[in-house]
């Protein structure tokens, strides 16, 4: 059995653990911190913006263009299709309610300030709008005094600038409410039976004030552990679909995915070990503070960009990957930074993540695609293409 150590537990680290363990590898995840999933609400981008900043409606078409295949191993659309499906199936396996049909077009998600942003795939709780068709009217829910819900800004923008119709209903505050409650505190409250009951009662009350007949949209506070059940209960109570829009980090949506993923991986035998990797060698990794070594046949480095802390810059502008020791000069352009990590094997270990291969996901909106591509590339290299292909075909055909 091949033993693989994965450094980092953000989206690409967990994805690599998922696929490698499914293919029969023994996986240990070593991470110094909680990982970056908690930063985001869980959407995965394919390609949102063209080079000139204009929005991409059909990412499939964008990737079909030969000049857009910028990577060493350019993928055909059929490759993207197989691996995206594998990702969605992994999400289904960890308990998200997922439709395995891949989206045809980018949809819009709504920022807490009401701005629209394209994305390819979102978890089912996320409120999305069609970017190419008229949208149904919606009712926005104002859960009182939530610091990171700029509800008035959101309202003003939807009123002034948007093509869809909205109204707002305000919920009263529960007795337990405290001034400092963040989205996460709200979610913890609503995870409890008393909190959920309070919300159902309030939603039924609020229903009296709703004039529109479309979906009911909450800020992202609808529980961490009980979300789907809660959404179903509200939906039954008010007789309309219920969604959420994402808030600022810490993002409840990302935490939901992280918790379920970790639990599922643990049940499949993946080991999680806290620790700071200071050296990667041919025989494994060495941990800092004399915490010893972990032997491995292969190492996957998923430490993220600077956000994840995997890359260090010293005052001379020298960028060092703290895991590989790889060095490069940082000129102030993010592009120079991202080219440090590539999906292929570099001396020791495979580097995976959203900022690989010269990609600038913040600008291009292709972070999800980069995660999928770099992890898939590493998985193929470690487990062999034949094994991976036969595994993928069972994934495609298996029971939906």
């Amino acid at each position: 059995m091949r033993h693989v150590v994965i450094v980092g537990q953000g989206p690409s680290g967990l994805l690599a653990a998922d696929w490698l363990s499914a293919l029969g590898a023994a996986v240990t995840i070593v991470a110094a911190s909680e990982g970056s999933l908690a930063l985001w609400s869980g959407s995965f981008d394919f390609r949102n913006y063209d080079q000139d900043g204009s929005m991409v409606t059909d990412p499939w078409q964008w990737w079909a263009e030969p000049s857009h295949r910028t990577f060493a191993q350019a993928w055909e659309l059929s490759d993207w299709k197989r691996w995206w499906t594998a990702l969605l199936r992994s999400f289904k396996d960890i308990g998200l309610i997922v439709d395995l049909t891949l989206p045809r077009e980018n949809r819009w998600i709504v920022a807490p300030t009401g701005r629209l942003r394209p994305t390819f795939w979102c978890p089912p709780w996320q409120w999305t709008l069609s970017s190419s068709e008229p949208n149904e009217p919606v009712t926005l829910v104002d859960v009182g005094s939530l610091l990171d819900t700029p509800i008035n800004w959101l309202k003003a923008r939807t009123r002034n600038e948007s093509a869809w119709l909205t109204e707002t209903v305000a919920l009263r505050r529960p007795d337990a409410w405290r001034r400092h409650w963040s989205g996460l505190a709200w979610a913890a409250f609503l995870d409890q039976p008393a909190g959920a009951d309070w919300l159902i009662t309030e939603s039924i009350q609020a229903r009296e004030h709703m004039r529109l007949s479309g979906a009911l949209v909450f800020p992202q506070v609808l529980g961490v552990a009980t979300t789907e059940r809660l959404i179903q209960r509200i939906s039954d109570a008010v007789d309309r679909p219920v969604f959420e829009y994402a808030l600022m980090p810490p993002a409840v949506g990302g935490i939901r995915i992280r918790e379920r993923w970790r639990k599922s991986l643990k049940s499949r035998g993946v080991l999680f070990r806290p620790g700071h990797v200071v050296e990667v060698t041919d025989s494994g990794v060495r941990l800092g503070e004399s915490a010893g070594r972990i032997a491995a046949d292969e190492v996957v480095i998923a430490t993220g960009g600077m956000v994840g802390g995997g890359l260090a810059l010293n005052h001379e502008g020298i960028l060092t990957n703290t895991a590989t020791g790889e060095r490069g000069f940082f000129s102030g352009e993010l592009n120079a930074l991202t080219s440090v990590g590539v999906g292929n094997r570099r001396s020791h270990g495979y580097v995976v993540g959203r900022m690989v291969g010269g990609s600038d996901p913040d600008r291009h909106g292709d972070g999800g695609a980069m995660n999928v591509w770099s992890v898939a590339t590493a998985v193929q290299a470690i487990m062999g293409e034949r094994a991976v292909n036969s595994w993928l075909s069972t994934r495609e055909e298996g029971p939906g």
Partner: protein, 492 residues
């Protein structure tokens, strides 16, 4: 009797305050916000004069005297930290001797400090410092001092018009100034009648002078400074050497500012610093603060010093830090028009006194200066008492919703300098949308968006100029949150 003052930096507001106290009505016209130019972009040092003791004794003496006055009239906005002049290992002790003699000659307070005491007081300093002297340096809260001055001016019946620029000067047939044409940001123009005009436009002074006279020679000198997230020292630390780049660290509230560079420029607008400029400045700290490269850097910023110089052959470090009052009538310009150039932040009051003395002579009245003895009125309710259950909109700088609400008219950019929100390590990433939410009452999304983006750009420029260590990570995180969560996509 009305005098128009151009510029709402330290000098302009100082002049308007001085005029107000002499009973003369004033209108201050400022193209941007209070302290948007040079006065808002300095290290905050309340000079003791020691820096200029050898080369520029007149400026040194003035700094020393004004330092004492500001401690009195601006109490609350001055932090009397004291300062040290320290001589790094292997530096030229001949200069130190010269400096000590000059200090004694000028009578600037000074005492030699034992290296043991120095190490105790400032443990961050290089262990091989060979000599140290204590001087009465201090730290100025520049923004607060100017807001107090503005409040005083308005209490005396004066007017401060921000985001308004002077576009013309009207001169009567006999050659006296009789009014100025001003243009608001929205583009409307109007005339303000006046009996005198004082040009205190800092780096723009020569441009303003073109409206009524020949431009005069100025030397613009650009200085870059680095901001660190912690208060690393308890007193101002100066390098005991001839004035040069990278020779001062100022503890400013909870942060520290390291400065500066000095480079001649022709642009009165201080462009953003480059990462090369900040790294060069950082490298100059090695013999004073060997660990500085590991301190948590926040950002870099730059300012332009408006120096006045008739001869053009000198390097700008050698141009006097003293100031000059120009009577335009003597240069063939209109009567009752005065320009003030050069000087130091610390000597703003003296500059104002001399400029206003020149003006009252022109106006033919006698009224003596009172600014030396009148306390600047303290700010009202801008910083409210800490409440037990308060919720901070800006967590880095602990700015609550109540504090933001105390400035109902301020734009987001103005709120930044008034409440200090967005000035901490996250540079607004986690608070700008919260503060913006408080300003959406009238539903004007476009204006709010543009204020948000302009504050983002301003913060971003400062961060991008100091991209190393944790600040680089913070910058990358900030960029990601803006694009992934807040969907603030800007074409690059």
């Amino acid at each position: 009797m009305r005098v128009v003052v151009v510029g709402a930096g330290a000098t302009g507001l100082g002049i308007a305050w001085d005029l107000s106290l002499r009973g003369i009505k004033v209108t201050v016209v400022e193209q941007g916000d209070i302290a948007q130019g040079t006065s808002g972009r300095f290290h905050g040092l309340l000079h003791s004069g020691a820096r200029y003791a050898v080369r520029d004794p007149k400026a040194a003496r003035e700094c020393f005297e004004e330092n004492k006055i500001l401690r009195k009239i601006a109490v609350g906005s001055i932090e009397p930290t004291g300062g040290y002049f320290v001589e790094p290992e292997a530096s030229n002790s001949a200069y130190s001797q010269q400096w000590v003699q000059a200090m004694n000659r000028l009578g600037i307070t000074m005492r030699e400090t034992s290296l043991g005491e120095l190490r105790l007081r400032v443990p961050e300093l290089h262990p091989k410092i060979q000599r140290a002297y204590w001087v009465p340096d201090g730290v100025i809260n520049g923004f607060e001092l100017l807001f107090r001055m503005r409040q005083g001016i308005e209490m005396q019946g004066g007017t401060v018009r921000l985001f308004t620029r002077v576009s013309g000067v009207k001169v009567e047939p006999l050659g006296r100034v009789e009014g100025v044409e001003v243009q608001s940001r929205q583009g409307g123009t109007e005339w303000i009648a006046c009996d005198g005009l004082i040009n205190a436009a800092g780096p723009y002074a020569s441009e303003v002078a073109k409206l009524f006279s020949h431009p005069f020679p100025m030397r613009l000198s650009r200085g870059v400074m680095l901001v660190f997230a912690e208060r690393k020292v308890s007193a101002v630390i100066n390098r005991l050497a001839p004035p040069g780049d990278g020779d001062i660290l100022v503890p400013h509230h909870r942060i520290s500012i390291w400065g500066t560079s000095d480079e001649e420029t022709s642009d009165p607008e201080a462009g953003p610093p480059s990462i090369e400029e900040s790294r060069r400045l950082l490298s100059l700290a090695r013999d004073l603060f060997p660990e500085m490269h590991q301190w948590r850097v926040l950002r870099a910023f730059s300012g332009v010093r408006p120096l006045y110089q008739a001869e053009t052959s000198m390097d700008s470090r050698h141009v006097t830090r003293d100031f000059t009052i120009i009577d335009h009538a003597q240069m063939g310009g209109p009567e009752a028009v005065v320009s003030v150039v050069g000087g130091k932040w610390v000597t703003y009051r003296l500059m104002a006194e001399k400029a206003v003395d020149a003006m009252v002579a022109k106006l033919g009245i006698t009224a003596t200066c009172k600014t030396e003895d009148v306390l600047l009125p303290p700010l009202g309710e801008s910083r409210l008492e800490l409440r037990r259950d308060r919720v901070n909109l800006c967590e880095c700088e602990e700015v609550s919703g109540e504090e933001v609400a105390a400035w109902p008219e301020a734009s987001l950019g103005q709120l930044r300098t008034r409440t200090w929100f967005s000035m901490g390590p996250c540079q607004g990433t986690f608070c700008l949308h919260r503060v913006a939410e408080t300003r959406i009452a009238d539903g004007d999304v476009k204006t709010l968006d543009s204020e948000v983006m302009s504050l983002r750009r301003e913060r971003d420029r400062g961060m991008a100029a100091a991209l190393w260590g944790d600040n680089a990570r913070q910058w990358a995180l900030s960029r990601s949150i803006r694009s992934q969560v807040l969907a603030e996509v800007e074409s690059e």
